[in-house]
Symmetry: C2
Subunit: 272 residues, 2 copies
Amino acid sequence: MTLFDPEELHEGPRGPLVRVRLVVAYDGAPFHGFAVNAGVRTVGGTLTDAITTVVGHPVELTCAGRTDKGVHARAQVVTFDAEQDRFDLDGLVRSLNKLCGPAVAVTDAAVVEPSFDARFSARSRRYRYRVLNRPAPDPFRSRYAWHVEEPLSLPAMVLACDPLIGEHDFAAFCRRPKRRDGEPASLVRRVTEAVWHDDGDGDLRFEIEAGSFCHQMVRSVVGTLVDVGRGRKHAGDLLAIMRSGDRNQAGDLAPPQGLTLWAVRYDGWTAG
Amino acid sequence: MTLFDPEELHEGPRGPLVRVRLVVAYDGAPFHGFAVNAGVRTVGGTLTDAITTVVGHPVELTCAGRTDKGVHARAQVVTFDAEQDRFDLDGLVRSLNKLCGPAVAVTDAAVVEPSFDARFSARSRRYRYRVLNRPAPDPFRSRYAWHVEEPLSLPAMVLACDPLIGEHDFAAFCRRPKRRDGEPASLVRRVTEAVWHDDGDGDLRFEIEAGSFCHQMVRSVVGTLVDVGRGRKHAGDLLAIMRSGDRNQAGDLAPPQGLTLWAVRYDGWTAG
């Protein structure tokens, strides 16, 4: 690991830059989400500090999906620019894993074209949500699942996914972002897959893929689908909820610990 | 849940007692081991407080294996005596899971013969130890495994298990207990199984079963076997280490988070 004089860190890079792409896995429990936020421990802040220490100059991170507090990632993608003479990739990975572990792990690293951007080059994101559906809790699975004690109707939950597929306005399932320029952001998203699997022993797994997601969309969709599984809503209600554009029609947010950013697809390459 | 006046709690049981047996699973990470220890959070202390709250009188817990700080259990067994009119089993389980969850979960409860004792009636204990053997860390598995980066020779580790099987003095692998009466405690134990499995993707799993274990025995055995896998010791050294009775000959203790109390066998019944 290369360590630099802290005074030098504020000067910024001086030599030729290369774009670096990392694939990062993390357990979201100890973090206040991905986005850098002064005063709290975030995945992005932890990574930025560690990369700065290793390459010896400040870096700015871009990520494929800014996960919320408590949400996990199996394959988050980040890009940043670094002076090419300041590091080698293998040493970078080893140093970052020593500095950030064990809750954060870099699983892949590459130098990519300067036009490659973790966020804007991504073609689709895939999230997985786990529900533990049985009376007894499980200390090992409850860290990565939402424990729902009452029996859920999986066929109803599968049926309710149908209206989600395709291009729709997901306002009913999203926290509307604040825009500084006054222009309302589009909440139209294209969902290509949304399906529940029964992995046995109470393990229910929801897989959803879309070009991109609005803020809190997956947890809101899961909360609504679990309401269907409980019989509080009908599978046929999903279309009306979506068309209403009204967040009060949707179910409560599913808790964050069940959610994992599972994979990110790019042209010719997939992380995860 | 039944809640009693705190003043009443100190009076002890007054009605006829029944012996209650629980099977308990826990994630050991947030606890300073099982044994009740004033001032620190322990699994036994958490359970004792919760049971006292539910049944309305103090109880004394006996367990099948007093796991150390950071060690997990899939099937710990505990017994205690409670006034039979103070609770029903289903309500007890529900209340304990609400009070102790999510790190501790009661997975089974029964009223048993007064002669049944979680510790002394047990015929054997089975522990599992997980090693994550690959260069890259894994935030999800590292909570329940020892991450060893350098490649281990599994055949050598399997071979080295051979001398462990049978009845031996395990002093070389144990922390010698302090005895108040001056009589040295026997460290002779009968191991009936000790084997490594390769579950793929770097997951190595050690299974060991014995009538009972000395303190720190499994972690010391695993530390020694991993030394063999690294090539620091030979498989043929195990017999000499065991015969030496010298703790300095054995390897360092494997870290606690890889260890799980997996199952406990009794006459006619097995937990786990």
